[in-house]
């Protein structure tokens, strides 16, 4: 018991230290990196949402972009119509997406494997374009989501992107802290039990259907938070910001991170942001044609995905851990 407590404390200290490190980093790097850092933080939340759903509860989602859209629109509507403060619009995004996720989870609990993947995929295709049907959602051009300028007390040279980064990084840190605690709790153990052997879990008295719905709800809430962060970094929310390719990118990020553990979530998030840039730098150096420039990032991501699935199917973190155990 004592050991558990001290472990918790150490973890909290780790998070706080990492937070301070990010704070230092935000002052040391140039503006483009700061902006990309905010995107990395958004991906961290979104990918952890998939890892929770797939790695811990054993449900597959290929349509997380749709859940991000729900969160993004929720946050924008709260902010624009009720003038909610930023933190409240984020909280609202979590709640709206979680509610949506719970309804979806009820359906999802009856499906499994490819059927569930297909259903979520259909959602990713269909849901964002619903915005086109209702005037209050702003149609194809979407809505403005303006979190406002950074407080004047931070000084005149404090850029908007640093402000994005601070908000996104703090949000991601809090979300990760909460999530890793949740996964260590009874709920986390229940989810893993259901994923590993659902019949055994049921015999042990676990209500598997309820457990799955709960996992879907929490995962959707996190996705909603990621959606709000994404909308913040582009200051708008529109159907085309949540294309099918976003859902696939997130699933890819989860696989690269290692889908069964939260520990590597930064790997996937950084990779998704870094690859287009690496590809860009490479094509510029060799002076490749526009066709190559346009298609290289996709090729690199797909290639990496194949390599990871072939050689480290559970992700680099799990692999490393198993090696250490032996």
């Amino acid at each position: 018991m004592h050991k558990l407590k001290s472990n918790n404390l150490l973890r909290l200290i780790g998070f706080v230290v990492f937070g301070f490190f990010l704070f230092y980093l935000s002052n040391a790097i140039d503006e483009l990196r700061v902006y990309q850092g905010a995107t990395v933080a958004m991906y961290v939340v979104a990918i952890s949402s998939i890892i929770l759903l797939t790695g811990y509860s054993g449900q597959v989602s290929l349509g997380h972009g749709a859940l991000l859209a729900v969160g993004g629109y929720g946050a924008a509507l709260l902010r624009n119509n009720l003038h909610a403060p930023v933190w409240l619009s984020f909280a609202g995004a979590v709640l709206v997406a979680a509610l949506f996720g719970s309804l979806l989870g009820v359906t999802a609990a009856r499906l499994s494997g490819p059927y569930l993947a297909g259903t979520t995929l259909a959602l990713a295709v269909g849901l964002p374009s619903i915005a086109n049907q209702f005037k209050f959602l702003g149609g194809e051009q979407g809505l403005i989501f303006d979190i406002g300028l950074p407080p004047a007390s931070l000084g005149e040279t404090f850029s908007q992107y640093k402000w994005f980064f601070w908000i996104a990084a703090l949000t991601a840190l809090i979300a990760m802290w909460w999530l890793q605690n949740l996964l260590r709790s009874r709920y986390g153990r229940t989810w893993r039990a259901v994923r590993t052997q659902s019949v055994a879990a049921e015999l042990a008295g676990i209500n598997t259907a309820r457990s799955k719905v709960l996992a879907f709800t929490v995962s959707a809430g996190l996705a909603g938070l990621a959606g709000a962060l994404l909308s913040m970094t582009i200051s708008t929310v529109s159907p085309s910001a949540f294309p099918l390719s976003l859902s696939f990118a997130l699933a890819t990020g989860a696989v690269l991170s290692g889908v069964t553990t939260l520990g590597g979530v930064m790997i996937g998030a950084v990779t998704l942001v870094a690859i287009p840039e690496i590809a860009d730098a490479f094509t510029q150096r060799i002076g490749a044609s526009e066709n190559v420039t346009a298609n290289l990032p996709g090729l690199m991501v797909s290639g990496l995905l194949i390599v990871v699935v072939l050689f480290v199917p559970n992700g680099p973190v799990e692999q490393f851990r198993n090696r250490r155990k032996k």
Binding site: Y35, G142, S235, E290
Partner: protein, 431 residues
């Protein structure tokens, strides 16, 4: 012990993240970003791949071709122009990321030709173009919001607004089809709302109005119901005021139903390349339809600008078919060169914006309508000529003569333009 390893790994991935972020260091800045004594760097983000890319992905190449032509002949005020191209796949998130790269990493002087209302809005807001004073030249959207100088003080659109277009069509209907029954298919968002406002001002009453939600034109059966509704109401003239895919869907179904009223195609959807790609019989089927443009027809080699663009295309853009997209790209590039020249040797962002607002009346440009830039408006072209599509899908002026109507985005009347385009500078170069 798992916990300990996990901490290590979190730390390790953090180091990777930090390391990758620190890789690039910012070079020292000149007086104005993107300008040196001998160069000017411009940036464009546009769909080069993905669903919206066909046609539009020819624009950057066309721009580069004209810039290279100018560079080979001494540049503008002694500076050569380079264009950095990024692909945003028509996704606003990517558009913002690419615009940030252009501004913060490639250090461009100005953006040019961003495409799509959602992406352009997102870039303008998130990259804080107005707070930083970064010019966004000639955005490719007719959304009337970008004309609003207060909301978008550094953005300029070249296309006339959708409202202007609707007013011009209204005038044409009044002159040629008074008392006839009119039908309309339009997109049910800001695009269509702008148009409805224009039609209302023109006093057009529709026998049948069919709104469609953006994206629904691709759903099986939807476009078929449009034609059924049109057949029931039996209008004499039908206006297709949607994007190219919706226009192609409407024409494709009309072809299948053997339904052929008098068509009028809005400028956004009237791209024969896209329509022909949907069904190769369509250009022949729709021959005789009316269409609108503000630039000279791409087939009109008697026009001095088109002739010059064709030559530039043949030399600097080898292997690319000359069409309306090439004309659009070169027109933007041409106007950018005029604006940069007018801003003088001491080129600054502020100076460029001021030059467009003050001096645009004297800019040479291929457009057949006056340029409307002023201290209060950032809309370029102010009207359209109406012509007829031939069986190959080329839009040609009636009787070989451009009849140009001009108007504003407000309540102003539509009048026949008496505008005389300034003669093209020698060889189409800034001098």
């Amino acid at each position: 012990m798992i916990g300990k390893n996990r901490r290590k790994l979190i730390a390790a991935s953090a180091v990777i993240a930090a390391g990758s972020m620190l890789l690039a260091a910012a070079p020292a800045q000149a007086a104005e970003q993107g300008v040196t004594g001998s160069t000017i760097k411009l940036g464009i983000t546009i769909p080069m791949t993905g669903i919206a890319s066909p046609g539009y992905n020819k624009i950057p190449g066309a721009m580069k071709a004209y810039f290279n032509y100018v560079n080979a002949n001494g540049g503008v005020n002694g500076r050569k122009i380079t264009l950095v191209v990024k692909d945003d796949q028509y996704i606003p998130t990517l558009a913002v990321a690419k615009a940030n790269e252009l501004i913060l990493k490639d250090k461009v002087f100005a953006l040019i030709g961003t495409l799509g209302t959602a992406s352009t809005k997102a870039i303008s807001r998130s990259a804080q173009l107005s707070a930083r004073g970064i010019p966004a030249l000639f955005v490719n959207t007719g959304f009337s919001g970008f004309a609003d100088k207060k909301a978008y003080p550094t953005s300029f659109s070249l296309l006339p607004s959708y409202q202007m277009e609707a007013k011009v069509i209204g005038k044409y209907l009044d002159d040629n089809y008074a008392g006839k029954k009119i039908g309309l298919i339009y997109q049910d968002d800001d695009f269509g709302v702008d148009a409805l406002n224009g039609f209302k001002q023109a006093g057009i009453n529709f026998a049948v109005k069919i709104p469609y939600a953006s994206g629904s034109q691709g759903v099986a059966g939807v476009a078929g119901t449009w034609i059924t509704k049109l057949q029931a109401a039996a209008p004499d003239v039908v206006i297709l005021f949607g994007v190219s895919s919706a226009t192609a869907a409407a024409l494709g179904n009309a072809y299948a139903y053997k339904y052929s009223p008098k068509w009028i195609l809005g400028s956004v959807g009237g791209d024969a390349t896209t329509i022909a790609a949907a069904k190769k019989e369509l250009p022949y089927f729709m021959a005789g339809a009316k269409g609108l443009s503000f630039a000279p027809a791409p087939t009109d080699s008697s026009d001095e600008y088109i002739k010059m663009f064709m030559d530039v295309n043949a030399t600097y853009n080898k292997g690319v078919t000359f069409d309306n997209n090439v004309v659009a790209g070169m027109t933007s590039a041409f106007l950018a060169v005029q604006a940069i020249k007018s801003a003088g040797v001491n080129l600054t962002r502020k100076g460029l914006i001021a030059a467009i607002e003050k001096n645009s009346a004297s800019f040479a440009n291929p457009g057949l309508t006056p340029l409307g830039y002023s201290a209060t408006s950032h809309v370029g072209a102010t009207g359209y000529w109406i012509g007829t599509y031939d069986a190959t899908g080329a839009l040609k002026p009636d009787g070989g003569k451009y009849t140009v109507y001009t108007t504003d985005s407000g309540t102003g009347a539509v009048v026949l333009s008496t505008y005389k385009r300034p003669a093209m500078p020698a060889k189409g170069l800034p001098n």
